[in-house]
Amino acid sequence: MDENGVVDQELFPKELTDQKLVDMLSYMLFTRALDAKMLSLQRQGRAATYAPSIGEEATQIGSALAMNQGDLFVPNFRQHGVYLARGMPLDVLFLYWKGYEEGGAIPKEVGGFPYIVPVASQLPHGAGIALAQKYLKTGKAVVAYVGDGGTSEGNFYETMNFAGVMAIPLVIIIENNQWAISVPRSSQSAAQTLAQKGIAAGIKVLQVDGNDVIAVYKAVHEAINDAVNNVPSVLECVTYRMSMHTTADDPTKYRDPAEVEIWKKRDPIDRLRKLLVAKGVWDDKKEADAAEEFKKRIDDGVEKAEKFVPNPESMFTNVYSYMPQVLQEELDEAKASGFYMKQEGEG
């Protein structure tokens, strides 16, 4: 699908019904609405530092909807859209970004693992989870995400190499958004593509337009089919981080606004919207209704998350499978000292 929403009919995956395309657009809009809400909450001091995914929705939604029921995913810290498309309860997601570990208690049916912060360190987990699927003969694939910056890490290379040798059902998705905080893709690697790094590991590689949700869907769908036959792969989705790395930095300090303007024209949501409007299955009314529904679901989630009362004791009871005496004493002392009493003005 090009920037005007025109599809190459020969390449178009036949299983993508109009309804599925509408779902794709809906989840992409939902993800963007979530980002907007999170940025607003963060500015109001109601959320901790946040890493928005604006501009990267096609990569996330295309890949998430290509997964089969029961497939598992391992995110870094930016795959909000993947969580949404896999049915993550919004209050749980908000709890994470409000700064509570309870946000990592992801329901089993989501099939996802918690957000991981140290870049690329989640990929070895993906390898192990994939190895377990093979060993336990579940027939499921594992999709693990990494950014362009993460492909410079040893864990990226170690995981691809391991996946190749072990022939495990793993798909690594490079969400190449062109920027690792302030360092551009060109300074990250002299390799012509990031996907080609997988060639040396002997796994399948592909680079796709990460702003074309249909292309991403198709590529991930095929990669998963290979994966369950124990052929691992790495897929580079070329996209763009239209916003900041996190709420803690200001991109105008290190990148040319003109570059952002160019990518705005390639907005993944606009592209799919054009296609669906042309097909006659999407219009302003539907978009307004969808926006209304997302707002309600997001607000409900926020409301529920904001009612959450943190229990400091949960810090102690979730470290070991048992409560060591020395830890019990620290907990008892903290409780007895009044250290956990809610202080005035505290949220």
């Binding site: 570990e101 990592g104 390898a127 190895l131 060993y135 979730n318 060591p324 005496q325």
Partner: protein
């Protein structure tokens, strides 16, 4: 059966693999070769290369993949060939193995045993003799175990295989083949988190573990001193109760370990004694450890590791106070 620590550990792994069909043993050279110290000898032949297998030489993915397997219903038992090479996977242990349970409030747990040989005294090349127990103990979330004899080694490992925690299982290289002991053939557990009073005594408490246990025993026997010897067996979480009970009884506390003195386990133990038993002491707490230096090349290691003479002199000094 009479066996050394290598045999005891091999027997423990055999029992675990037999009992838990989702347990797997893997790492560098653990398959055909049976591990560089032969701890996994014969296991691949018995259990197939699907359950006992060699991996690429890459510690971070070995440990990271272990975490992934552990969270997915398997029981991984990775071997890291030497403690000095485990730092390449340190991130996985500190940032992830230690934290998945807390970061998900118990939704994801990491039951596994990470085995690695530790400590020196066997004239190996650089990086093959480290005593890293404190690094793994400090973070919280990792259970750190270090046996000092074949019986404990087998029982602690089987116990670890029945827990739902990431257990860092440190195997003192020097003790692998130092002596044999009667060890039951069948399965049994040695409690994790509980120190062992090796010898009861009234005049002095010596708290030690790993390679220093036989050294301390030798000195105490030779001097015929009425000392209580405590073998920690589990470094983290610490069995503070056994230590304090002993120290309150004897009034004297000495901590002996092979790891460096500064910021070592001895500092932690001494601080706890100071906080909770200082008025029951007849002498200042004393620590005997390697000097606060990087582990030397083998030519110098005998000038570095605490030996019987160093421990003996420390006891003399303490008892004269």
């Amino acid at each position: 059966m009479m066996t050394n620590m290598v045999g005891a550990l091999n027997s423990a792994l055999d029992i675990i693999l037999n009992e838990n069909k989702n347990a797997v043993v893997f790492g560098e050279d653990v398959g055909k070769d049976g591990g560089v110290f032969r701890v996994t000898d014969g296991l691949q032949a018995k259990y197939s290369s699907e359950r006992v297998f060699d991996t690429p030489l890459a510690e971070s993915v070995i440990l990271g993949a272990s975490i992934g397997m552990a969270m997915s219903g398997m029981f991984p038992i990775p071997e890291i060939q030497f403690a000095g090479f485990m730092y390449m996977g340190f991130d996985q242990l500190i940032n992830h193995a230690a934290r998945y349970r807390s970061r998900s409030r118990g939704r994801f747990t990491v039951p596994m045993i990470v085995r690695t040989p530790v400590s020196g005294g066997v004239r190996t090349l650089e990086h093959h003799s480290d005593s890293p127990e404190v690094y793994y103990s400090h973070v919280g979330g990792l259970v750190v175990v270090e046996p000092s004899n074949p019986y404990d080694a087998k029982g602690l490992m089987i116990r670890a295989s029945h827990m739902q925690d990431p257990v860092i299982f440190l195997e003192p290289t020097k003790l692998y083949r130092l002596f044999k002991q009667e060890v039951p053939e069948e399965s049994y557990e040695v409690e994790i988190g509980k120190a062992n009073v090796v010898k009861e005594g009234q005049k002095l408490s010596i708290i030690t573990y790993g390679t220093m246990v036989p050294v301390v025993k030798e000195v105490v026997e030779k001097k015929a001193i009425d000392a209580e010897i405590i073998d920690l067996r589990t470094i983290n979480p610490l069995d503070e109760e056994t230590i304090l009970n002993s120290v309150k009884k004897t009034g004297r506390a000495m901590i002996v370990h092979e790891a460096q003195l500064s910021f070592g386990a001895g500092a932690e133990i001494a601080a706890r004694i100071a906080e909770k038993a200082i008025f029951e002491l007849d002498a200042p707490v004393m620590r005997v450890a390697s000097d606060s230096l990087p582990y030397p090349f083998p030519g110098y290691e005998n000038f570095y590791i605490p030996n019987a003479i160093k421990v003996s002199k420390a006891i003399d000094k303490m008892m004269s106070q």
